[in-house]
Structures are given as C-alpha cells and as structure tokens.
Symmetry: C2
Subunit: 182 residues, 2 copies
Amino acid sequence: MSRPRSDAERNRARLLDVAVDLFAEHGDQVQMGEVARAAQVGVGTLYRHFPTRQALVEAVAEQRFSEILAFAESECLPNPDTRAALTCFLTHVAQMHQTGRGLSGAIEATFGSTAPRGPLAIELLAIGDTLIRRGHADGTVRADITVDDLYMLVGALAMISRGDVGDWRRFIDITLDGIAPR
Amino acid sequence: MSRPRSDAERNRARLLDVAVDLFAEHGDQVQMGEVARAAQVGVGTLYRHFPTRQALVEAVAEQRFSEILAFAESECLPNPDTRAALTCFLTHVAQMHQTGRGLSGAIEATFGSTAPRGPLAIELLAIGDTLIRRGHADGTVRADITVDDLYMLVGALAMISRGDVGDWRRFIDITLDGIAPR
DNA sequence: AGCTTAAACGGAAACGGACTCCGAATCAGA
DNA sequence: TCTGATTCGGAGTCCGTTTCCGTTTAAGCT
C-alpha cells in the first residue's frame, strides 16, 4: 500500500478533467479513444485508471455529485424558506442534467444499483434529510415523507430533465405540492 | 405498393413475438443474433424487417403500448372514481415496467424523441386527456394540469419502476396529491 | 549522480456486437 | 410450369471497447 507514482496521479486527474468536459459537451456517447487523445495519453493508460467505460462514467458522475453537493450547501440550505430551498436544490439537479447529459447514465447506474453508496452520496442523503426534517418542522412537508421519497423524486427528475420529457419545472412544482401537507 | 409476401409477413410477426418475449425476460440487452436465432431466421431477415436495433425495440414498445391501452380502456376508464382510475392506469404502467424491463428503453426513446408519435401513442394521449378532463370536472385534478403533465409523470414513473429507485406506489400517491386541487 | 526495478505508459491487436451484401431459395402471377 | 421479383441466410465488414505486452520512467537505494 504505497503512494501512487506522481505522473500516474497527474494523468488520472487530467483524464477525469477531460472526461468531465467531453461528457458535458457531447453527452455520454463520447468514445474512450477520444478521451485518451484529448488527455494526450494512450488508451492503455486510460484503462489503467478507469478499468471500464462504466467506471469512467461513474467517476465523472461522482465529480458532478460533488458539485451539486457544494452548490446545495452554499446556495440552497441557507435559504430559510424550506420550499424555496427544496426548489433550489431540485432545480440545480435538473439544470445540471439538461446541460451535460453525461451525468444521467451514471445517475441511473448509481440510483439503480444496490451497490455500496459512496461517501458523496451519503453526504447528499444527509442534505436531503436536513431539508426534509426542516420541512416537517415548519409545515412544508407532510410527516410521512422521508429522504427516500425525496431521492426517488430526484431520480425521476434526473430522467425527465435528461430526455426533454416535458417541463421539469412543472414536475418540481407538482411534486413539492405532492409532499406538502394537505 | 403491393402486398408483402406471405412468408415475409409470417417472419415479421414471429420476430416481433419472439422479441417481445426475449426483451421481457432478459431486458433490452438482448442481442440481434439471439432474436434471429430464437425466431429461426437469419440476421439478414431480422434486419430486413427491423432495419435497426432501435427499430426493433420501438416495435416491441408499440406492442406493449397496445397492451397498456387495452387494459386502461377496459379496466381503468370504467371506474367512476377518477383518482382510482388514474391510480389504476399508473399502477399498470409501473407493473408492466417492473416485469419486462425491455419496454423502458423504448419508453425513453418514444417519450424523449420529437419523432412523429404513432397512432397508438395518440390513442394513449386521448385516454390521458379523458382522465384529466374528468378530473377537472369532478375536482380530482387542478385546472392548470394538462395531459402533457400526466405523460411527464408517466415517463418518470416508467424510469422509476424500471430501476428500483424507491417505491413507485409512493410516487403515484405523491404525484396524484401534487396534481390535486389544494 | 548512477543503478535498479516496480510501476506506468502506449498503441497494436483481439474481441464483440450491430449492420451489410449478395448469391441462393422461395413465392406468386402469367 | 416458367419466370422474375421478393425474401432469405449468414459470412463478412465496421467500429467501438478492452486486453496484452514490450518500452519507458519515476523514485528509492548506494
């Protein structure tokens, strides 16, 4: 268990960087070769760091989760109006999907799998939990609604905003009405 | 523009039949070769009838849409309680996705594309429209909700019930609350 | 600094699956 | 029954992912 070689670490970082950009721009139909070329690296190197296409996609998703997390913490949570905070959060998720389709496949992979959730996902859950609890307290959210419900809605929102299946702003409004007390 | 040869017609039907079953059982990762083999036909024949994988998937989806349609007309519409009718409809869609994952890719393809909607899809829209209107009339559905909203929810439901992203029954309840008047 | 070697690199080739092509087989009208 | 247009079949092409292995390089040791 020794430290990885420094060039390896740099290459990994550059690959991820480039992949995030490419996925954001061209959706997740980007080819492995392109990523390698853009990072000025052989395919072999790419595969050393991300043993499979899926792995790369997931790493990109992880990256973007962390962006969502940061945004939610700094921009949404502080808002004292819980409904507004939830809207802020969900809107950000949707926008992040509309630009940069690359995430969506991974969302599916992450939400759809029973795989052990990464630390980032756990933090995300924590934020959701905070929002839901606040909602319980101030009457924005019905008592029987849980974080799991929220993340089910997030998953749905992700799909919708990816595929132009209607207007996701309406989806947000409708579902927030749906979890509000009657 | 002459009638297709009878053997061609038979082959086409058998291919579609087999494809429906295979997709239902193994999800949409079934290979073209498998479908051809299962139908006792060469790949060439398969490609004659369905010029692309996507075309086959869509044809399968069309098939299943028609099942949904039939069920909705005979089992859901007659229910005088509009909310129950909507629940019936949405539940059926979800169940159809849970078993037989094959549909979901196609749902995405159909809902996500701006392609001209087939006649079946139009009929489905009509049913949705009927339900929404009834809801407007009897106070189950808020006045500003449209069929488009309903089908956005159907799309979302499809994704959710495919991927085990939470409990779709709750999703149905939440969204029906969301489109109800305050 | 030079030596050593485990680790990382690169990219040619293997692999896998969708799709094409065209000679062989088959249907249906005269 | 003959004929030729239509359909069939499946070997082959294409293209993207993944593997393999000889070459290169960072970094610890002397």
